[in-house]
Symmetry: C2
């Protein structure tokens, strides 16, 4: 399994995106998204996606030259049109619009219409926390997950993410999870590596429990995390994405990498002094990391801490690319006459 | 186990609250909260709470005559001071303030400072959905739940709730759950009935898994639902409650019935036509209830549907009160010279 340094992988990604007609700025933003996901250890949202992204261009699911625009702002709310371009630049436009709305009104929220895949959600809400506000985001996606008690694909894997600022100079606390028990991207990783997935996450096309990732792609369904509670959180993303972002999943029986995202920004300063908030957040963090570990656990971590630790390792040592993914990337490199040499 | 009709139980509750110094209007609001929880089948938040509520008065944790006030409004945000009165009237004030802010700005959010127990959360977010908006609420509470990987009490059982409007005249879809695997109120019910709780929800004071509700009260901890994902959702409520609503749980080692609540209102009409949203919500509901049931399941239900079904039964047949709870209520009746006769 080759280990590739982030800048090399980033340049390679930009060149591939350029080869299929992406202008430099959106190419950089999409590459940031993928490489940052790899650095954080979430390979499911890293360069593993490139083959599907380029197929998306080939199949006209994404228009690599399209430019997202701010359609409207009304009070604390904003609507972005992704114009079926890359999802990441559109979601950044929505994020900045929501921050701007929150500066003015105390809260801000934005949705993206006609949105391709937004990638890993953490960076958007982390950017909100970086300006001293609380970020929360969710998105619906093509049907993949059975509702609690069911076995048909009804909901997307629907990410849910939040970030809260800590002391100045400290990275925010950030949770970014799929409301499916396992993200579909994690299934892709498992399938690419030939691994089974933990029990309780997939049913096959006949509704039987299975641990074989291929059974999902053969017409099965994922299950939501946490029983009816996780299923209910996923359903909120589904109502909001479909109702407010306009992504009707029934229109997307084929392509999976499409999102209807919503981002919310809460301006802390409207509720309390920001320094007071930061101090309370630090006390809360101390309470978590200072708690007694459960049996077999070394240390209790905050959401986002495993990702920060992984980033430090991978920035130093490079990003390991599973052989299956590597072969796919080499095929793309050959097809588009792009070199990964450093 | 006696079965008492809702109006009888409501009058009894009002009279008890009156006996300890609660004016008629807040008494009615608190009684609504408890009786509605019983009707919905969530006895954990019903009249089972009355002994603890009255102990709260005796111990000066709650001031039955205190009146909540709107401290400030700033853009889309509002702050309510609960003045350590009953939590339900304070939370209703916050709910209506957030709705008002959302009408003006497209989003609204409110917190309550100095707040006693707000009761079951569903009615607040349902009231938001009833005016054609999306409601979302969460609250922190006294430490009871270990963070993922830990075994000390750090987070509250922290409720999370949302409601989304359906077609005009149809009750909203509403999820209202504890982010603990089991609500502390549900533990009280299990203890009152002498039942164990399902595996994976409690550790005893030494961090060992247990199903005995008493082990929690002897210094153990609850676990969050859904592993690190549910723990992460709970932690968001903890940061927001502590940071924005000002409830520092470390101050509340004793009393458990205290909340730091946050409610968010999204005005759908700023994003899309409300009728369009309702139609999309109905299509989404159809997709859920029309999905193939899992093995052993009769029908796939939406969040809130079990509660509506239970309400129909209990409005007709009365609310069953477990014998332990009944004895406690009879003791209160005798102590405060209040009769439950219809």
């Amino acid at each position: 399994m080759p280990e590739i340094h982030a800048p090399v992988l980033h340049r390679f990604t930009c060149e591939l995106l350029d080869a299929v007609g992406t202008p430099p700025e959106p190419a950089r933003i999409v590459a940031d998204s993928l490489i940052n996901a790899n650095l954080a250890g979430h390979d499911s949202h890293g360069v593993l996606r490139l083959p599907a992204y380029l197929e998306g261009v080939r199949d006209s699911q994404v228009q690599p030259g399209a430019v997202a625009t701010l359609v409207s702002e009304s009070g604390a709310t904003a609507i972005v049109d992704g114009a079926y371009g890359w999802g990441q630049p559109a979601m950044w436009l929505a994020t900045h619009a929501a921050i701007g709305r929150a500066r003015e009104h105390g809260l801000g929220a934005a949705v993206v219409h006609h949105c391709y895949h937004i990638g890993r959600v953490a960076p958007y809400v982390e950017a909100v926390a970086d300006v001293g506000m609380i970020g929360q985001a969710m998105a619906n996606a093509a049907p993949a997950v059975a509702p609690f008690g069911g076995r048909s694909r009804v909901m997307g894997t629907n990410p849910f993410a939040w970030a809260v600022p800590r002391a100045e100079g400290t990275p925010p606390v950030c949770l970014d999870v799929a409301t499916a028990g396992i993200a579909e991207g994690k299934l892709r990783v498992a399938r690419a590596r030939g691994f089974p997935v933990p029990v309780g996450n997939i049913v096959d096309r006949d509704g039987r429990a299975t641990t074989e990732p291929g059974d999902f792609y053969a017409g099965g369904a994922l299950l939501a995390f946490g029983g009816h509670k996780g299923s209910g959180l996923s359903l909120l993303a589904q109502f909001i994405g479909r109702g407010l972002a306009g992504l009707d999943p029934s229109m997307y029986d084929g392509p999976r990498g499409i999102n209807g995202p919503f981002i919310l920004v809460i301006d802390i300063a409207r509720f309390t002094d920001l320094e007071t908030f930061r101090a309370r957040a630090e006390a809360q963090c101390d309470a978590v990391t200072g708690s007694f570990p459960a049996e077999g656990v070394d240390a209790v971590l905050l959401p986002g801490q495993p990702e920060l630790a992984m980033r430090a390792v991978r920035e130093r040592e490079g990003i390991p690319i599973p052989d299956t993914t590597w072969r796919e990337l080499m095929n793309l490199a050959e097809k588009w006459n792009v070199s990964i040499a450093g």
